[in-house]
Subunit: 342 residues, 2 copies
């Protein structure tokens, strides 16, 4: 067996890549040879030490990936060695009120794999079989590494109830905002993206999105004109930026909807008077449910999205520390993939 | 004809009651002899001068009432002199995007009668016939004066999708909060009211509501225990108080709903992280639609609500200035009615 390696969070801004022995799958588990892992904003937060209450060093982090099944534990049915798979990295308690109601993806005691337990920045990842989604044999495993963030966007667009002819505004064109915009277009909606970062604006335009820079225009006025004075049907807030918490309520039409995707570390000011005046609906959304992974797999497998254009670079796992340092310096990345095995 | 009178807003904290000639109904209008008018928080805001941008003195204010048709204008069908009626005091433009979409109650250019045009604090009110709802002949016109606020509560409970077995928390036990709680109970829900005012706490308990004082307990902890750790199904924010904008998101269960009834003059801090974590839905609600008036009429006519217990006093219209002065001094009123005609 080739040398296995893993990237361990060792404390604030320190990651080490070390050789590790593969963990044999226990009952109900499988061991996956990880092909590619994507670097997510959450991983960057972890790197910065913001999640030290949940991550106990040394711990392998990472939760976006693609791979193939290497080994199957006792009692696992429906999968075989060599199957291409992705992991839906949620391990819920199945006992709390959320789980009992059928919302195990927002379990009150959720184990988010790669944060609360070991993640995929390693050659070999051992996970519960219930987290697996099988991929078509002919899928490109590089593109498949983007299924997890695509599933986030699929969940957001589904709970946002986006449909044909909706005028949709997306605040923020990072990986998730861009995917939300693309999936909105895929649903037949007319989509406007608001972004201030020049690299992201350029990239979003290259893949055919309509983008405005709210530093250069009055966004509320622009959206009013763009919708012939009605207001947007649906607004996705995908920045977590304080200013957008206030802006988001100024954009929708009467009975329009705001989908809160961005994570706000602190309570933020919302224009509740506008929520009242226009009877707006604000919908919080978090991660994904199994059907969102299936939607994402279908879209990526069908090459319905410009997935390759979102991959900024592919690097060996050994370069993880350097990559996070580049991100910290403000590197122009959309999605960086780490190659985790041969 | 007896002397007609009207209460005119003359500027900040000044109301004058004067004799006025009744206004004959034009085409499509009716003239109503107003029996009783209720004093609403909005009227008090007007009295304080907070709505001077919309109210041009001298103007008759007021929008909660009951009465009988006195005179019918050209082209009005379906009503006759002597019919008991209430007015749904909304006169929409019927041209804006909200109206065209069927949400004329939140028209972008809404004429809210009693604010943007003359109101019901007068013996004789001339209004468009499309604003009328007929009452059963045997209804008590004192109780009927509470139909308008009851319609607000009916709208809130309808958009909040309250149903049997829901655990509902109502923040605030003023007239609207109390009615929301009562209508929630009427739907079969289990209702908890949070209120800090001793008079309102006492009154709410007298009419059978379960009430806690959040100054005496930790409300979030209490609601968690009250719902066996799940969280509330639906939370109604009916105070417009900054602290409750932040509190409201701490109370619902996974995928629970918050209904924003209270009016927040300024953007207020909302715990959007909690909205995200539990995939909460926030629904803004405003005034009412025709079906909410019909619901309110049915409930009041059937004496399904302790309406009489909510009427703190009935006074002649001439005492309007003194009444607002008492409210300003913090008088213990739930709902005061003004008798507008013999």
């Amino acid at each position: 067996m080739r040398a296995m390696k893993g990237a361990f969070y060792q404390g604030k801004k320190r990651l080490s890549v070390e050789e590790i022995a593969p963990q044999p799958p226990g009952p109900g588990q499988v061991r996956i040879t990880v092909a590619y892992s994507g670097v997510c904003g959450t991983d960057f937060h972890a790197y910065l030490g913001h999640m030290d209450q949940r991550i106990k060093p040394p711990q392998v982090i990472g939760h976006e990936m693609s791979g193939t099944i290497a080994e199957i534990g006792e009692g696992v049915v429906g999968f075989k060695v060599g199957d291409k798979v992705v992991v839906r990295p949620l391990d819920p308690c199945l006992k709390c009120p959320a789980c009992r109601r059928g919302y195990s993806h927002i379990c009150y005691h959720l184990n988010f794999m790669g944060v609360d337990s070991p993640g995929c920045f390693q050659s070999s990842w051992t996970v519960p079989a219930h987290t697996l989604h099988r991929l078509p044999d002919d899928i490109d495993l590089k593109e498949a590494a983007l299924i997890e963030p695509t599933a986030v966007a699929a969940h957001d667009v589904r709970l946002g109830q986006v449909s044909e002819k909706d005028n949709v505004v997306v605040l923020g064109a990072g990986p998730i905002g861009t995917l939300v915009a693309l999936l909105g277009q895929n649903k037949g909606a007319r989509v406007l993206v608001a972004e201030i970062n020049q690299f992201r604006i350029k990239l979003a335009r290259e893949i055919g999105l309509e983008v405005v820079n709210p530093l250069e225009i009055d966004l509320a006025e622009y959206v009013a004109e763009w919708t012939n004075a009605a207001g947007a049907d649906i607004v996705f807030e995908v920045t977590g930026a304080e200013a957008n918490a206030e802006m988001m309520a100024r954009l929708p039409r009467a009975r329009g909807r705001i989908v809160v995707v961005g994570i706000f570390a602190e309570p933020a000011k919302v224009d509740l008077r506008r929520v009242f005046l226009r009877e707006l609906q604000i919908q919080g959304v978090r991660v994904y449910q199994p059907e969102d992974f299936e939607t994402a797999i279908s879209l990526v497998a069908a090459k319905a999205l410009p997935t390759n254009h979102l991959i900024s670079d592919i690097r060996p796992l050994e370069q993880i520390q350097a990559t996070f340092e580049e991100i910290e310096r403000g590197a122009d990345f959309m999605k960086v993939l780490l190659k985790c095995s041969k």
